[in-house]
């Protein structure tokens, strides 16, 4: 929130040079107690820097600790070792300006779609008079106008995910933490929302950490893709995605560089991946 408004980041260049990083993860490990009384190392010595305005994706096999990484950055789960700094402040509790979209849809079941979105507006201090217009705008963007008064149990899985995305956008964070936000969407909606996400991101130059199983999606969206392995979760490799920006989420897939990057990441993840 305290960040000065800057022009959208230009692609390829390292934005870290001109602004302090949005997120700095230094030597972080995470252990959980196991049911049999031992400890499970879930994250092992991870270092990571997210530049201001950078779009970073994390891919990796199921169970390698991607969701846990996001929870650590969000401050919901404390680190066991190391430290995490978001916007210059060490994370001990959820920091301001961070929006988290969980892997599981977490809409409140007793509230309607628009009430669910409204809660985020309430929490970010939008005055009540301004909320209905903003809600209507988001519902339109996500193609949910007709379902404003529906409860989550009465809409489809993909619609629930869009509603959760709407809540995230309504909150309007500086840092987006998105855990497989398009996981339950059909290819077409995925394409539309991916495009929309790119548009929103390029307008406001927000920082994004995006977890996905879909390598093409990661390459299409990101400035950088991190491949994790595990457990215990470690960073295996990192790819800078120097595809031109502004990008068309669909057209970019026709570029030979795109195919090439996807192939290399695929090769890297190798046999033990469950990604489709």
């Amino acid at each position: 929130m305290e960040r000065a408004t800057s022009a959208p980041q230009t692609p390829g260049e390292s934005p870290a040079a001109c602004a302090p990083p949005r997120v700095k993860v230094v030597g972080v490990s995470k252990t959980f107690p196991t049911p049999d009384g031992g400890v499970a190392r879930v994250i092992e010595n991870v270092d990571l820097t997210l530049a201001e305005g950078e779009f970073l994706s994390i891919v990796g096999p199921s169970g390698c600790g991607k969701s846990t990484m996001l929870r650590l950055i969000s401050g919901l789960t404390p680190v066991s070792e190391g430290r995490i700094v978001v916007a210059g402040r060490e994370v001990t509790e959820p920091p301001p300006g961070v929006g988290f979209m969980f892997q599981r849809d977490t809409l409140l079941p007793w509230a309607t779609v628009s009430e669910n979105i409204s809660i985020a507006l309430e929490l970010n201090g939008t005055p009540p008079a301004a909320r209905p217009a903003r809600i209507a705008e988001l519902l339109k963007l996500l193609g949910l106008e007709r379902y404003a008064d529906y409860r989550p149990s009465a809409i489809s899985g993909g619609m629930r995910q869009r509603a959760a995305l709407g809540r995230l956008l309504a909150y309007g964070p500086e840092l987006y933490l998105m855990d497989e936000p398009f996981g339950a969407l059909d290819a077409m909606t995925k394409m539309i929302l991916g495009r929309e996400l790119l548009r929103i991101w390029s307008q406001d130059a927000k920082s994004v950490v995006f977890v996905t199983h879909d390598i093409e999606e990661a390459v299409g969206l990101s400035d950088r893709v991190i491949v994790m392995e595990g457990p215990p979760g470690r960073i295996k490799s990192e790819y800078r995605i120097d595809l031109p920006r502004p990008r068309d989420f669909r057209a970019v897939r026709l570029l030979p560089e795109f195919r090439d990057l996807c192939e290399r990441i695929w090769g890297d993840i190798g046999r033990h991946s469950e990604a489709e």
């Binding site: 401050g75 929006g99 988290f100 969980f102 409140l108 079941p109 809660i119 929490l123 149990s153």
Partner: protein
């Protein structure tokens, strides 16, 4: 469906399913009262089981002379006070125990022990402590319902979706905000379940208190009638109790429908 029209089906006041349900209920009523009528008029003397027409007549009479209102209002009032007290204390104590799991673990066997005490055995103590006025009946009703509210509050709080709380925390919602907007709505079904069970129990407590010493109330009426071998009076009192229990339960259902939006 077009974009303009509301696609939710309008709920008709009397759907076929509802009509059938009421028909079935009426059928049960007619069959059981009919069986009672036949038995009372053939095999058994009404001295033992009275009879539907005698009970109906008695109910009609005490409705007209005000006795029914006089007694049932006392019973209902005591039950309601006991319910309210049980709700407040059970809910408050449940929140406290949920907040301090160590205390909850320590108290668990004692709570369970107290919960299973036969209240009738406590009745003499209640009269000793609270007298034979209103208070002993309210406390009797309270002793039945407080545990229900306590246990359901704790369980309801435990069942609140952890991710919903975390999501609110990630947006820096205060604990009070989370309590009001996430935990309370999530717990409402548990509280209403407790209320539905408690309505019957509170009436039992109220009547039990009256059986042991009172000069008013449906419990007193039933006790008094049975002392005079007035079977019809006993049955009339019990019938009135059943009707009241059904009505109070219905009131809880209405309150629930009003407070919790349909899922």
């Amino acid at each position: 469906m077009s974009a303009e029209t509301d696609v939710r089906p309008a709920r008709p006041f009397l759907s076929p399913a509802k009509v059938r349900l009421w028909f079935d209920r009426l059928l049960v009523f007619v069959l059981s009262v009919g069986a009672w009528y036949v038995v009372a008029n053939t095999i058994l003397d009404p001295f033992w089981i009275s009879s539907p027409e005698l009970v109906a007549e008695r109910l009609w009479r005490i409705t007209l002379n005000g006795d029914l209102w006089w007694h049932s209002s006392a019973t209902v009032w005591q039950a309601l006070l006991g319910l309210a007290l049980g709700l407040v204390v059970g809910f408050g104590f449940g929140l406290l125990l949920a907040r301090y799991p160590r205390l909850a673990e320590a108290l668990d066997p004692y709570i369970m022990g107290l919960y299973s005490l036969p209240r009738i055995a406590l009745a003499p103590l209640f009269i000793l402590w609270f007298g034979i006025g209103l208070l002993s009946k309210v406390m009797m009703a309270f002793s039945f319902v407080v545990f229900i509210f306590l246990l359901n509050t704790m369980q309801g709080l435990k069942e609140v979706d952890r991710d919903h709380i975390d999501l609110m925390r990630s947006m820096r919602a205060s604990p009070a905000f989370i309590a009001r907007r996430v935990q309370l709505p999530a717990m409402l079904p548990w509280l209403f379940a407790a209320a539905r069970i408690s309505v019957g129990l509170a009436l039992i407590g109220s009547v039990l208190g009256e059986l042991l010493g009172a000069n008013r109330g449906l419990g007193w009426y039933v006790e008094h009638a049975s002392g005079r071998l007035d079977t019809t009076g006993v049955f009339a009192g019990l019938t009135a109790l059943m009707i009241i229990a059904v009505l109070m339960n219905q009131a809880v259902n209405l309150l629930e429908r009003w407070l919790t939006p349909a899922k």
